[in-house]
């Protein structure tokens, strides 16, 4: 019984490991194609990337800003309810701001990008794969890595970083508004700057680096599952669901590992 359980566990771990290696390989192949010296399709590829950034990034600005602001208001209001005194409130605000910026912002942004664009990319690549469109472009000498993966990867990474900054901005503005409303701080610009200075450049840099890493992870997972649909269209719903769940799992694990490293 125990022996069987160990065999099953071992197989499971090995399968997961293989899949992670596949994601890493896909990301590496795409990364190399981004910096390849080949001029083939440069205009077409970067035009597609710009469109991807508009769809993934610009179109989601209001959603991300709204969620950042609401998250900030809810968290700070709850914190002010439990803490007492101006000093304690100020300390709580600093702590929560850093927590929201360093840990929550990149994770929430990656999840929003995965839900909005990741699912769309998995479906789009899945259909292309099932309808023989990937082979169709290859048949005229077009590199599918350059035409299909480079725009989607670069679009998702740039958008995740950009949306992360929007999230941080919204968190910060809403936090200040909440603090003023709660009477914790006076509504003066000097106070705004003192709050800004509480946020170290290292915190922001860490947040952006995490956003980039989560962006690459999200892109690799959703593209991999899209291209894995093969000739069977009925695979699509299963692939989309798996891709989204895996994005959440991988980003959570990465966030935990990075948090432990930075202890």
């Amino acid at each position: 019984m125990a022996h069987e359980f160990l065999i099953r566990l071992g197989r499971g771990v090995l399968t997961e490991f293989r899949r992670v290696v596949s994601y890493a390989t896909l990301a590496w192949v795409t990364f190399r194609a981004v910096f390849a010296r080949s001029a083939a399709g440069r205009g077409v590829v970067w035009g597609q990337a710009a469109r991807q950034i508009i769809f993934t990034g610009l179109d989601a600005v209001w959603l991300v800003g709204f969620l950042g602001a609401v998250g900030s208001v809810v968290t700070l209001t709850a914190a002010f309810t439990y803490s007492g005194g101006a000093d304690e409130n100020r300390m709580v605000t600093d702590l929560l701001l850093r927590l929201l910026v360093r840990e929550i912002a990149p994770f929430v942004t990656a999840v929003i990008v995965a839900l909005r664009s990741g699912s769309a990319i998995t479906v789009e690549l899945g259909y292309m794969s099932a309808r023989g469109e990937v082979e169709g472009i290859e048949s005229v000498g077009i590199d599918p890595v350059r035409l299909l993966l480079v725009p989607r990867f670069s679009g998702m990474v740039v958008s995740t970083i950009g949306l992360n900054m929007v999230f941080i901005g919204a968190v910060f503005a809403a936090a200040f508004g909440t603090a003023v409303q709660a009477g914790v701080v006076p509504a003066r610009m000097a106070v705004v700057w003192s709050y800004a200075s509480a946020l170290q450049p290292f915190d922001v840099a860490t947040s952006l680096a995490k956003a980039a890493l989560f962006g690459v992870t999200t892109a690799a997972v959703v593209c991999y599952h899209g291209l894995s649909v093969g000739g069977d269209v009925t695979e699509m719903p299963r692939r989309v669901a798996r891709a989204l769940v895996e994005v959440v799992i991988h980003c959570t694990v990465l966030a935990s590992v990075l948090a432990l490293i930075s202890l």
Binding site: A39, A40, G41, Y127, M128, R131, G136, S139, G141, I142
Partner: protein, 218 residues
């Protein structure tokens, strides 16, 4: 001009396989492989284009061993050969015209020149009224004709076609036959696979039943 050499090739995929097939297509020659099981015929053409892994044997197309060629070499080879799949494989989120322009623009042709070149090709076959339909909304017959136009855009030395008669009504058949004749006049080597002998016979110099290709090997 490149020829095609298929030496004792076996390929297997779900629902189709070929075993121990050998065939030689000389440069400029036009050959049709026919049989009753289209999926197996298609597997042979797909293997020649490097889209199926050859389990055994060797396929050489225009001097390139497609079984051992790496991804970059295959992409380079495909630029010099035309390949038409059964359904055409056009990008469904683009118009039929854009599908053709994309191929040219990717390979460095300026957008305006690509538009002119593609426009001239489309006008030549009389399909200009349908060219701005999105591929996902276009009838299968139109997609097939445009897939042929795309395959012949770069004036390839070799043309591979899986089931050219599939999806085609009489008008589409005429267009495809005319494109084959035009390619033949340029001396293009052709290997096509079809289960419709009446359609392919006038397009080629030689018709080889798939079973005969196996017998040649044994």
């Amino acid at each position: 001009m490149g020829g095609i050499d298929i030496e004792r090739v076996s390929v297997q995929r779900p629902g189709a396989c070929i075993e121990d097939v050998s065939l030689h297509v000389a440069p400029g020659e036009r050959v049709a492989v026919v049989g009753s099981h289209q999926p197996s015929l298609s597997v042979l053409i797909r293997a020649c284009a490097g889209f199926e892994r050859v389990r055994q044997g060797r396929i050489t197309v225009a001097g390139t061993d497609v079984g051992t060629a790496d991804r970059v070499s295959l992409l380079r080879l495909r630029q010099s050969l035309g390949y038409v799949s059964i359904a055409g494989g056009l990008l469904s989120n683009m118009t039929l015209r854009e599908n053709l322009e994309l191929a040219l623009r990717y390979h460095g042709v300026r957008a305006a020149d690509a538009r002119d070149q593609v426009g001239a090709r489309i006008d030549a076959v009389g399909l200009q009224t349908d060219a701005d339909l999105r591929a996902c909304l276009a009838p299968a017959e139109l997609c097939k004709c445009f897939a042929y136009l795309r395959a012949l855009l770069f004036e390839p030395a070799v043309l591979l076609s899986e089931d050219p008669s599939a999806y085609l009504h009489p008008q589409g058949r005429e267009i495809v036959a005319a494109l084959h004749a035009e390619a033949a006049a340029r001396g293009v080597t052709m290997l096509i696979a079809d289960d419709d002998l009446d359609f392919v016979r006038p397009l080629v110099d030689r018709v080889v039943p798939l079973e005969a290709a196996v017998e040649v090997a044994s």
